[in-house]
């Protein structure tokens, strides 16, 4: 039932590392991840796991559990600000959450049966893809002008606020979006991440929503998806309180500071920096996965 995995324990071999030192280091790392995540809009969750596994020698299951709860914290914390702006499409979000929560339950259940090295390899690939997605690219400016039959039946078309008053928009390709959302849920449950990048991709590219609507609706869904995985993680014993504590508090602090200074920051350069960090972590995860350094 429980996988006993022998891991490289770089930091644990050091006699000076006490729980206090370890907790402080984790909190600082999580704070940095939350700060960068908020500033670049890419979310910090994706770097927490490789940080804990690669640099601190934490087992990947515990790392995923801690990362997942920090994803819930940042998503719910940001929701208040997003709701006020009036962009998120609550009906669309709720409909797609059926797909993401089913996906998350499948992914989280799968995570308990995939060996640690397999998880590390999948994680490395997802990191590389995130770095690829984070490059500056033009947002899709193709927006459907005609209502879609399925979207209309499901009452998905809505409006978003502009200085000149609300502007109506249509939602396209609902089945494709739903399928992508299921995939985003599987990834989220399998790896303990928010998979916001895949969600925005589904909303922006497949369903052709206005970009602001995509990002805010995605944020609304991330917390619910993560909560679906969190139940399974909790029962499988992935969520260790002493490890999750500095991760959650650090990420919350970092992302709060990040949201405050967001207006003044030069985000383009930061995104490039963050992309390099992600690529480096991806290579490390892949290396660890293929050499079996995350165990069995």
């Amino acid at each position: 039932m429980l996988m006993l995995i022998n891991l490289r324990s770089s930091i644990h071999n050091c006699a000076f590392v006490t729980v206090l030192v370890f907790t402080t280091v984790v909190a600082l790392g999580a704070c940095g991840a939350g700060l960068l995540g908020a500033l670049t809009g890419l979310g910090g969750g994706v770097v927490i796991v490789p940080l804990l596994v690669g640099l601190l020698g934490v087992d990947i299951h515990y790392a995923m559990g801690a990362s997942l709860v920090s994803v819930i914290a940042t998503s719910s914390g940001a929701a208040a600000a997003y709701v006020r702006e009036g962009y998120s499409n609550v009906r669309l979000g709720m409909l797609l959450e059926v797909g993401t929560t089913i996906g998350a339950l499948c992914g989280a259940t799968l995570a308990a049966h995939v060996p640690a090295s397999g998880l590390a390899i999948v994680f490395g690939c997802v990191l590389l893809y995130s770095a690829y997605l984070s490059r500056p690219h033009p947002m899709s400016d193709v927006h459907p002008t005609k209502p879609d039959r399925i979207a209309r039946a499901l009452q998905l078309d809505s409006t978003f606020p502009t200085p000149a008053g609300p502007v109506a928009y249509h939602v396209a390709r609902v089945p494709a979006g739903f399928a992508l959302m299921y995939g985003a849920g599987v990834l989220s449950g399998l790896l303990g991440i928010g998979s916001g990048a895949v969600k925005v991709l589904a909303l922006d590219r497949a369903m052709q929503l206005p970009f602001k609507v995509s990002t805010t609706t995605s944020n609304f869904m991330i917390g619910v998806t993560a909560a679906a995985s969190a139940g399974v993680y909790l029962h499988r014993g992935f969520i260790d309180p002493a490890l999750a504590m500095p991760v959650v508090l650090g990420v919350l602090l970092g992302s709060t500071i990040g949201a405050r200074v967001l207006a003044k920051a030069k985000t383009a350069r930061l995104r490039t920096l963050f992309a390099f960090v992600i690529v480096a972590l991806a290579i490390e995860m892949l290396y660890n996965g293929f050499t079996g350094r995350v165990g069995g």
């Binding site: 995995i5 891991l7 644990h12 590392v17 990947i60 719910s76 909560a227 969190a230 399974v232």
Partner: protein, 125 residues
């Protein structure tokens, strides 16, 4: 129509505040548990390199509540994390209530499906 729209918006804004309050409350409980934990275990060696899984007491809602009552650091932190997990679930519940107020039964049903999936996961999936 416009009054209904404005009413809906006010409801959404209220929800945003409820969510943020949930996160703040959870963070306070986690921090309090963390303080208890560190006060007792600061000098020990951390052991996360091998996955053993959490003890049974910290895996179920009932177990976590009874652990937290004894004011064990780990139990209190886990209770805070449980509150954190509960916030998006509360969001879905309130959205269901909002759809009910609009008499939008299709979306009351869809919200109920999501809520059922979340409950299934938390109850032991």
């Amino acid at each position: 129509m416009q009054v209904a729209e404005r009413d809906h918006e006010a409801f959404e804004v209220l929800l945003g505040h409820v969510l943020r309050a949930g996160v703040v409350l959870a963070a306070i409980v986690v921090a309090a548990g963390g303080a208890i934990f560190l006060a007792r275990h600061a000098g020990e060696s951390p052991a996360y390199s091998t996955f053993r899984g959490e003890p049974g007491d910290l895996r179920s809602i009932a177990g976590i509540v009874s652990e937290a009552r004894t004011l064990s650091g780990r139990g209190v932190i886990q209770l805070g994390l449980l509150l954190l997990i509960a916030t998006p679930i509360a969001r879905v519940f309130f959205a269901l209530v909002g759809f009910g107020r609009e008499k939008n039964w299709m979306y009351v049903g869809i919200s109920a499906i999501v809520l059922a999936l979340l409950a299934y996961s938390l109850a032991g999936g």
